[in-house]
């Protein structure tokens, strides 16, 4: 989330320098370490082992991948200057495509089917925004409405009297599941990490839980999906193709004058974007082993939020996807553990309050303390949150994180601007 601040700044005291100064890597390390300590603290106080258990972590990973893929799709499209609100619709198309191909020909076909369906959605978006010059958000919204209609229509037509099963809102089950692996010794066989996790030691067990979640029964495709993030970075920031693509999002007129085929680049980017969003849908289908209507449940939008949170950078969006995947995984694993998040919020906000107080910003500081007190009171009085409230944990997290973090972000210069050749 911080890639712009590269100019050296004057020293703001030794503690501030230690925490925020230094190289990006040191800062990141501090952040991760502080986060882990805080989580184990909250886990130990609240006794909610689900907070850092390996099962929550593997659920978080499973759910972060679709969000991350949608965000990655958004990255391609928005770096080329096309805002893609239609990610949700392309993801919906992807889930349907995966269900349709998967129940007939197995998991690999499901992957292909989902990507192709998502890419078709992307092609439609490209046609509307690039060729016809329609407003990007309007086209995206239209695609979301249209995609929901198309999948319902297709299901109604193909699944209602299907001997293989399925119905108006779901496909028959996939005929095969994608392969999984566990890292030997650590997470299978002797299962050293699992053993350590069960001991409930402060920090160590938490670390073991996190590691085991990421190493036990992980899908091969999940690993490949994770590798797409560095691959995307290399493609977009280290190749001529990537430079051209990004130049279309920063200054299309200049790119055009230098011989970059702007329309074609935008088409390629948006189709890739749809394919990646569709792939995100495929992973949702893999989790359930079946296509169900409304399986995406707004994850395309959350992916878009992860992209914005990540400042339109691959690393940042991966962090955002991880955060939202975690809150999603937690609310699915344990409704009572979500209450423990309130304690976490309280601790975080008290830290913010101290920070703001030191910077002589009293109003913000008092506000943070007040909210922290409310969160703490909530943690102490509430046992289990009702289902309706728990269900929107990831969305509320998204909203809170965005409202705290969206100040220093920089979107591609010409993002969302309709480019017509010769009119600029």
């Amino acid at each position: 989330m911080s890639s712009v601040a590269t100019t050296p700044r004057p020293s703001r005291g030794p503690i501030t320098d230690l925490l925020t100064g230094g190289s990006k890597r040191t800062r990141l390390l501090w952040l991760v370490l502080a986060g882990l300590v805080m989580f184990s603290l909250v886990r130990a106080i609240s006794g909610e082992n689900a907070l850092t258990s390996s099962s929550t972590m593997s659920a978080a990973l499973l759910l972060a991948v679709p969000i991350g893929l949608a965000a990655l799709g958004g990255l391609f499209s928005e770096r080329a200057g096309v805002v893609n609100i239609g990610l949700e619709g392309m993801m919906i198309l992807g889930t349907w495509g995966a269900g349709f191909a998967g129940y007939q020909w197995g998991w690999f076909a499901a992957l292909i089917g989902g990507v192709v369906f998502g890419a078709l959605g992307g092609l439609l978006h490209a046609l509307a925004t690039v060729t016809f010059g329609v407003d990007h958000v309007v086209s995206g919204v239209a695609i979301n409405i249209l995609a929901a209609g198309i999948v319902r229509f297709l299901s109604e037509l193909l699944y209602t009297d299907n001997p293989a099963g399925g119905g108006v809102t779901q496909s028959p089950a996939l005929s095969s599941n994608p392969p999984e692996i566990s890292v030997p010794v650590l997470s299978s066989g002797p299962d050293l990490l699992g053993d350590l996790e069960q001991r409930r030691w402060f920090l160590l067990s938490d670390l073991a839980g996190v590691l085991r979640g990421f190493t036990s029964g992980v899908g091969v495709l999940t690993i490949l999906a994770l590798l797409l993030i560095p691959a995307t970075y290399l493609l977009l920031w280290r190749t001529a193709f990537g430079l051209r693509l990004r130049s279309c999002g920063e200054n299309p007129a200049a790119a055009d004058s230098l011989g970059v085929p702007v329309y074609r680049m935008k088409y390629i980017a948006v189709v890739i974007s749809g394919g990646l969003a569709g792939m995100g849908g495929v992973f949702l289908v893999f989790i359930a082993g079946i296509y169900r209507e409304n399986q995406t449940n707004g994850r395309g939008f959350i992916g878009l939020a992860a992209l914005i949170f990540g400042n339109w950078r691959p690393g940042g969006l991966a962090a955002g996807a991880g955060l939202f995947g975690y809150s999603d995984g937690l609310q699915l694993r344990s409704r009572s553990a979500v209450v423990a998040l309130l304690l976490l919020v309280a601790v975080l906000l008290i830290a913010v309050a101290v920070w703001q107080f030191l910077r002589r910003k009293l109003v913000q500081s008092v506000l943070a303390v007040a909210v922290a007190a409310a969160a703490l009171a909530g943690f102490l009085t509430i046992d289990v949150l009702p289902q309706g409230i728990v269900s929107f944990t990831p969305h509320l997290t998204t909203l809170l994180v965005l409202s705290l973090a969206s100040q220093r972000l920089r979107m591609p210069q010409a993002d969302g601007v309709v480019y017509r050749r010769g009119e600029h």
Binding site: F132, V134, D135, P386, L402
Partner: protein, 399 residues
């Protein structure tokens, strides 16, 4: 430009869009081996007896009323270049709270209805104001925040329905709030059918219809005949020009979202006050999203939105007959979705044709008209060419 041409240009895009949508969905149906002509025959078959036909018309109008309000709510924000995608959450949360409050009190007739309306309007406006405040103070895109708030609103509504506001007994298949008392219900308007000499249908025409019409007229006046409306449209056409001429951009965002949310609060009430009298688990959903489509099709003008709402009401009426005739009812959704996409494309094409016509006109007539020199803040003619919502830029300047 002659009146005929202006009307022609204004009608060109929506009509083209509907035609294209019908053609595309026919092709889709044909590919999937469903006879499109049979489907359209079912859609246009309103019934055999006069009573059935009037009933069908009542169903269409009753569906069009909430769609019209939803379209207005979205359009107000669109006119300022704001995307209020949160209409869905705003009206659902407002309706459940209004149903709870309405059931809890007993007041004399009109007052009771008025209280329910006020509660709904306030709740929805409050919910929309969160979006505006986040945008103004924290720079959060209203698209993302309103979508997230949709999920939060739906979750909260379901919590309120199953928790504090629950009125149905434990174990009932449909959970609902307590029924609103007699005084808080709005009677039908079926007396007009008698006055017009038509058959009296078994279904009640919503008594909410006049309220919706009044809201539409008030909004048209507000947008076209007041300072606030001018500022709002100017901000949508060119934010920089508007703020240069002294419009408080941040204030306008908050005021517009409050207005949009307030109208959104009214969307659920026709059904609540007219038929269900309680908020239930299967209360009409999706009106907020359809409102976006209706607003786009109606080109963000109240009159256009009324026609678009009637068209969508007509399409939605066909859902049940299609199911009875064993056709995939989601054809309706496909047509609606295609209309949206087709209308935005058609709007863009219409805008370009208008620009080209203006260019040709100026080439013959010498220097461009003075209106073009007023900068981007100059308002377009009321029914003049315009792009899709949000990018509604009057391009007379370039001509």
């Amino acid at each position: 430009m002659s009146i005929l041409r202006r009307v022609g240009l204004a009608l060109f895009a929506p009509v083209l869009a509907v035609v294209v949508a019908v053609v595309i969905s026919s092709l889709v149906m044909a590919v999937l081996q469903v006879n499109p002509f049979d489907v359209f025959a079912v859609m246009f078959d309103l019934g055999d007896t006069p009573s059935q036909q009037v009933t069908a018309v009542v169903v269409i109008i009753n569906r069009a009323v909430p769609l019209f309000l939803a379209g207005l709510a979205v359009a107000v924000a669109f006119r300022m270049g704001l995307f209020n995608i949160g209409v869905e959450g705003q009206y659902r949360l407002a309706t459940v709270v209004a149903a709870g409050v309405g059931a809890a009190v007993v007041l004399p007739g009109p007052l009771h209805v008025a209280l329910i309306m006020v509660v709904a309007v306030v709740v929805a406006a409050f919910w929309a104001s969160i979006v505006a405040i986040l945008k103004v103070t924290r720079g959060v895109s209203e698209v993302i925040s309103s979508i997230m708030l949709n999920f939060i609103a739906l979750g909260t509504a379901s919590f309120l329905l199953t928790g504090p506001l629950r009125g149905s007994p434990e174990g009932a298949s449909i959970i609902s709030t307590t029924k609103i008392g007699e005084s808080g219900q709005l009677g039908g308007l079926n007396a007009i059918f008698g006055a017009l000499g038509l058959a009296n249908p078994p279904r009640q025409l919503y008594g909410y219809l006049p309220i919706a019409i009044v809201v539409g007229i008030l909004l048209a006046v507000l947008l076209n005949r007041t300072r606030f409306g001018f500022d709002l449209r100017a901000s949508g056409l060119s934010p920089s020009a508007a703020s240069a001429s002294g419009v408080d951009a941040r204030g306008m965002v908050i005021k517009t979202m409050l207005l949009s949310g307030a109208i959104a609060g009214l969307i659920g009430l026709p059904d609540l006050l007219g038929t269900t009298n309680a908020y239930t688990t299967d209360f009409t959903a999706g009106l907020g999203f359809l409102g976006i489509a209706v607003a786009l099709l109606g080109r963000n003008r109240p009159v256009g939105i009324a026609f678009a709402a009637l068209l969508f009401g007509f399409l939605d009426r066909a859902l049940v007959p299609l199911q009875i005739a064993d056709y995939p009812a989601s054809v309706v959704t496909i047509i609606q979705g295609t209309i949206v996409l087709a209308v935005v494309v058609a709007n863009e094409i219409a805008r370009r044709i208008a620009v080209r016509a203006a260019e040709r006109g100026t080439a013959h007539a010498g220097p461009p008209p003075l209106a073009g020199e007023g900068g981007a803040a100059s308002t377009p003619p009321p029914s003049g060419p315009s792009g899709p919502a949000g990018t509604d830029v009057w391009t007379g300047v370039q001509a």
